[in-house]
Symmetry: C2
Subunit: 295 residues, 2 copies
């Protein structure tokens, strides 16, 4: 039997940075909160809670405590309000998201009608549009474009969208604009994880996808993988059943951008233990056969 992990698995750059910032802050401060769960992974949120980082839902619940801004950012007004109240801010907004917010501000100032390719209810998009003084337009995909002219269109994207959606949107907008400026703010962490999952699924008899049941990107990996081969989506090693594994010759493992390393390692070690091929415990995701982070 052979176990392999998808080339790009687990924490992306922005999530890794946010968790590190939260952990560093927790070591120095006993009164600390995050505005909403820091990432969509219940086990990681629970681990941080043990270190004294609790989750609050709104400004009223902060009560003067140091506040972590999670990786997909928040509305500009919230940051300003925190500053006004003199609250210590640990800004863990992903640098790619911050960059997108800057582009939004710049294009807006230069007179472009801002068009965001994204989901209007996603926290990143809710934050992003607050950086635009005039009203921005949000398209989830190209089919939503109305039949009217937009003189100067400035297009930016939610960082986790895929490039094909941007291509289609721009294709359809061309006849409706005199001038178009497109800033490709898509981060490839999402697409490389999906691509690696597809590649691995094709050479596996069974795939195990690890990550929060509330994590959109993990669910998407499970969906994509499930189209190719038998796939199980689990949050932790406890959920794994030995009968799944024993039948498989080639087992593939993958994990979403919000899945911490220790959970992936638990799952991997349990697999090799179950199959009786356990030699010694693996302590780094990088040491699982197949792993190779690309950017």
């Amino acid at each position: 039997m052979k176990v392999k992990i998808a080339k790009n698995s687990g924490f992306c750059f922005g999530v890794k940075r946010a968790i590190r910032m939260a952990q560093n802050a927790a070591e120095q401060n006993h009164e600390i909160v995050t505005l909403g769960p820091i990432i969509h992974n219940p086990q990681m949120v629970e681990k941080l809670a043990q270190k004294g980082i609790s989750v609050v839902k709104n400004l009223a619940e902060i009560k003067g405590r140091a506040t972590i801004i999670r990786s997909h950012g928040v509305k500009r007004e919230i940051l300003q309000e925190l500053q006004k109240r003199g609250i210590e801010i640990i800004n863990a907004t992903c640098p790619y998201v911050s960059k997108t917010q800057e582009f939004a501000t710049q294009l807006d100032r230069e007179g472009y009608q801002i068009i965001i390719l994204g989901d209007k209810d996603h926290p990143e998009v809710i934050g992003l549009r607050s950086y635009v003084k005039s009203e921005s337009i949000i398209f989830s995909d190209a089919t939503e474009i109305p039949d009217r002219k937009i003189k100067k269109a400035g297009i930016i994207c939610q960082t986790t969208r895929n490039i094909q959606d941007l291509q289609k949107l721009v294709y359809e907008l061309i006849p409706k604009t005199d001038e178009m400026r497109v800033i490709n703010t898509i981060c490839n962490a999402t697409s490389v994880r999906q691509q690696s999952t597809i590649e691995l699924a094709k050479e596996s008899d069974l795939m195990i996808v690890v990550g929060g049941k509330n994590s959109s990107n993990t669910k998407m990996l499970a969906k994509i993988s499930g189209r190719i081969v038998k796939t199980y989506h689990i949050e932790t090693a406890d959920e794994m059943r030995s009968e799944w594994i024993r039948k498989a010759e080639r087992i593939g493992l993958t994990a979403g951008a919000s899945t911490p390393d220790w959970i992936i390692l638990d799952v991997y070690n349990k697999i090799i233990e179950t199959t009786g091929e356990f030699d010694k415990e693996v302590r780094n995701v990088e040491d699982i056969p197949g792993f190779k982070e690309e950017k």
Copy 2:
């Protein structure tokens, strides 16, 4: 029998303006030349020759005479050289082409890699690229895009290209650029002429396309029309044969952007004369049934 002209036929705005400028100049000046034929219509060129406007091929042949710059413009260096030599310039460059040249200069100055959608040997494109200090890239269509990254791409178009080609080019360039600025410099005169020709061809038994045998846009109308119905491409009424017409119940007439009104009128009047339905001579293209210039 019914004769109709395509809604948009004959001179476009830029050609109309260039011819008017040439005629005005000829009335005031006896020593006048055009650098290359002013439009691709031998009859119009001949008519202007009778008014004293001759065609020269290069700067050496100008010999101090006032010089008309034709509608698709020339290289910036040529204009500068004419100015240096103190030659009177009648600049009949189409305002849409001038605007495209200005966009090229501006995007180049702002650090964009200029990409021109166009034909590299077309006079308009040869002129256009001279307005770009750095080397511009010219793509005739999306299949020519190489597999490499372009950080900041500034895209402009030869004014007679069609919008679908621009859409395809932009679609393919999106994954290869971080930032893209697209100025839609396509003039719709070409597409509305083609569209009107298609509409008319569909309701005709016979189409007659009038215009220079050396005119690309007229040849394209004949090609498009010929796919739908029996079509003849003629330069003047003399070429028309009565046997074509007698058999047809519904005759459609169309003309390229460089076909002068008097030639279209000649053809129309000859048709109604041939079919015996001649009432009185029509003296304006606007009076031919079906005509309706759109912009």
